[in-house]
């Protein structure tokens, strides 16, 4: 208790501003946050971002490798407008495989913010502008194509919309369950507390994936895509809430004894006021952190289930569904770019973990509050 106040700049800063300052110091966490913001935005407007729809097939390019965007052509001439080369396909006589090379005669310039395939944005209104399309009747496949000639770049971003949203929707459900049960256990105590504790113990001692598998397998085949989507999300959150509930319960019990909470009760504050004005703000930051760290689990869960063929099913496109195409090593050896959705999974999950770490450090109001 040093009897010297901190310099005035910090003195009037709100706890939230202080937390933001601390968060900004974590460069990696900040970068992750920006990355996530970017990829969520792209996924949100993916119809516009990508040149094709998920089921558009290019029969000239079956299992074609990724293209590179160029400014210099093969003669070394500079082009102001970036372009791609079309494919030159040849069937290998020994292996019967299609092999693609760049075709210098098919030079397709990229045109930006221009008309292409028409689509219904979020299924609502018809539109046909895209961020970029290939000009001169050509095609562009930045990530290559699959065995049906569908553009992987387009599918990855459509898949991002599904996979990323499943993470968030799942976490919201987890939050509801976790805060509800944790709060009830912490606030009511006694029998309720014991029941919830027992439930958590049982759920935590089950191997999740096999159980997810069993539950997913029970989703009726005839269900629509949207119902399967929510079915899978519910399954994922059904076993994920236990960690959060434990934390909420623990924080609840600890906070109930905090002096400032006792002080609030003693000035006559009612239960609701104590909970919402004094207790919830104190662990909201913890809840946000936990939620951030829980999103990756959801994304990984969806990916795993869909990969096994018991989660989301085509024609829905998600990262897991996309990975399903790369299930054995023959496919991977021939078309390794089909693993690209995996890269997005890894990057996203890493970003969530890093941001969660940064949030956790920033959440503690006194971590650099001026005491030793």
């Amino acid at each position: 208790m040093n009897d010297v106040s901190i310099d005035t700049g910090l003195a009037t800063a709100t706890p939230r501003q202080l937390a933001w300052q601390r968060f900004k110091r974590h460069r990696l966490a900040l970068a992750s946050g920006i990355f996530l913001l970017l990829i969520y935005t792209l996924a949100f407007v993916c119809e516009f971002i990508v040149p094709y729809k998920t089921d558009t097939r290019n029969v000239q390019a079956i299992n074609a490798p990724p293209m590179s965007v160029r400014f210099f052509d093969m003669e070394g001439n500079f082009h102001l407008r970036p372009f791609v080369y079309g494919y030159d396909m040849k069937v290998n006589d020994d292996t019967w495989m299609r092999e693609y090379t760049d075709n210098p005669d098919k030079l397709y310039p990229l045109r930006f913010f221009t008309r292409g395939e028409s689509y219904r944005f979020w299924g609502f209104f018809e539109f046909d502008h895209h961020l970029f399309v290939a000009g001169q009747g050509g095609y562009v496949h930045l990530f290559g194509t699959d065995q049906l000639g569908r553009d992987l770049f387009s599918r990855v971003f459509y898949g991002a919309r599904v996979s990323l949203s499943i993470g968030v929707v799942g976490v919201v459900m987890t939050l509801v369950l976790g805060v509800l049960f944790g709060g009830l256990a912490g606030y009511l105590g006694g029998l309720m507390d014991r029941a919830v504790q027992r439930m958590i113990e049982v759920l935590q001692s089950l191997p999740t994936l096999p159980l997810w598998m069993a539950l997913s397998a029970s989703l009726p085949v005839e269900w629509s895509s949207i119902r399967v989507y929510f079915g899978v999300t519910i399954i994922l959150s059904l076993f994920g809430w236990t960690t959060l509930a434990r934390q909420v319960r623990g924080r609840f019990l600890a906070l109930r004894e905090e002096e400032f909470v006792v002080a609030a009760r003693l000035i006559g504050a009612g239960k609701l006021r104590v909970i919402f004005r004094h207790m919830l703000p104190s662990f909201a930051s913890h809840i946000i952190t936990t939620a951030t760290l829980a999103v990756p689990g959801m994304i990984l869960g969806e990916t795993a289930l869909s990969f096994l063929g018991i989660g989301l099913r085509p024609p829905v496109v998600s990262w897991g569904v996309l990975m399903q195409q790369a299930q054995n090593y023959q496919v991977i050896v021939m078309t390794p770019w089909l693993l690209l959705p995996g890269l997005f999974v890894v990057l996203t999950v890493m970003a969530f973990n890093l941001m969660g770490d940064g949030l956790r450090d920033a959440a503690d109001p006194y971590s650099t509050g001026g005491q030793s």
């Binding site: 049982v202 089950l206 191997p207 994936l209 159980l211 598998m213 397998a217 090593y329 991977i332 995996g342």
Partner: protein, 327 residues
């Protein structure tokens, strides 16, 4: 200590009873049952089945009894070691389960050992050399390891194995050892195949464990008892090993139990990618064809495995931490 062990062991049984109920409900969830799926198959082949035959079939599988009876029959059988009959394979579940469970256990335990052997020294290193280049490199690798779904890792290893070394990775045995009785040669063959699933399954856990250990150790490093020991003149390496590590390892032991469900989950999916003869692929098959006894027994056995694993980790923790032992 003895009373702790007794209460802990006794407490396991209600948990298992609960779990069996959950498992039973889960496997009853899919619409239809083995009879309807058999009927579908028969009808697809053009065989007509009369209502009477259906009734007989149901009676034969005890599917006409009320649910609680079915549950008790299943659970009771489970306790006496009779896990029912797999319709899919037309064999008793017992025959199908044990060998596969054995392999699951081998992979899980070796992955656990791998996790510890790798995570322990690296976790200590990253904590003691906080913010060094080594810390950054290892922490980054751990982060990537944490973010990589293990089936993706398996796929990548397969790709690397084929592209760079020209070998096909997968299975637990070479073809010539696939269906022969156990010999030393077969065991060696198993070990030469085992390392890949071990690494793949264990890597995610290793990353988690390393991060937890690092965080725990950093928490402990400046605790008063460590300062006291340093002031007492305990030499640096012994100081770390004897004081903060001993305490940092305690929560770590209890996460060991929680690691098991994760490892078993990872094993299930990796086995499908690598085509290993373990419980995972069979469970999936059983689930898809609604072979209820087979799927239920697998789920239940995996659950028993984790509950026992958690019990062991709790007992080890009690042994390691006198504060628990003496309560």
């Amino acid at each position: 200590m003895r009373s702790y062990v007794v209460t802990r062991v006794l407490g396991m049984f209600p948990t298992l009873a609960f779990i069996s109920l959950i498992v039973f409900i889960v496997i009853q969830l899919p619409p239809g049952d083995i009879v309807t799926s058999t009927l579908d198959r028969m009808q697809a082949q053009g065989v007509e089945v009369s209502a009477e035959q259906v009734q007989n079939l149901r009676a034969q599988y005890n599917l006409d009894e009320p649910m609680p009876i079915q549950y008790l029959r299943w659970a009771g059988g489970f306790i006496t070691g009779d896990m029912g009959y797999s319709y899919l394979f037309a064999r008793p579940v017992n025959e199908l389960v044990w060998e596969r469970l054995g392999f699951t256990l081998i992979i899980t335990i070796s992955a656990l050992l791998f996790t510890w052997v790798v995570a322990l020294p690296l976790g200590i290193y990253t904590a003691v050399r906080q913010y060094s280049i080594g810390d950054y490199v290892l922490t980054t690798i751990a982060l990537i390891g944490l973010a990589t779904p293990n089936f993706l890792l398996a796929l990548i290893l397969m790709y690397i194995g084929y592209e760079w070394f020209g070998i096909s990775i997968g299975g637990l045995f070479s073809p010539e050892f696939q269906e022969v009785p156990w010999t030393w040669a077969r065991l060696r063959d198993l070990l030469s195949h085992l390392w890949i699933p071990m690494v793949v399954v264990g890597l995610g856990g290793t990353a988690v464990t390393m991060r937890i250990l690092r965080a725990n150790l950093l928490d402990e490093l400046n605790k008063p008892y460590v300062v006291t020991a340093r002031a007492k003149g305990v030499r640096p390496i012994k100081l770390i090993l004897k004081y903060p590590l001993r305490i940092a390892i305690n929560p770590f032991i209890s996460t060991l139990g929680l690691l098991l469900p994760t490892l078993i989950s990872g094993e299930a999916i990796v086995s499908m990618v690598l085509n290993l003869p373990t419980t995972g692929p069979l469970l999936l098959q059983a689930l898809l064809s609604q072979d209820m006894y087979l799927a239920g027994s697998f789920l239940m056995l995996l659950a028993v495995l984790t509950v026992v694993g958690m019990l062991i980790s709790d007992l080890v923790l009690a042994w390691a931490d006198p504060r628990i032992r003496y309560e």
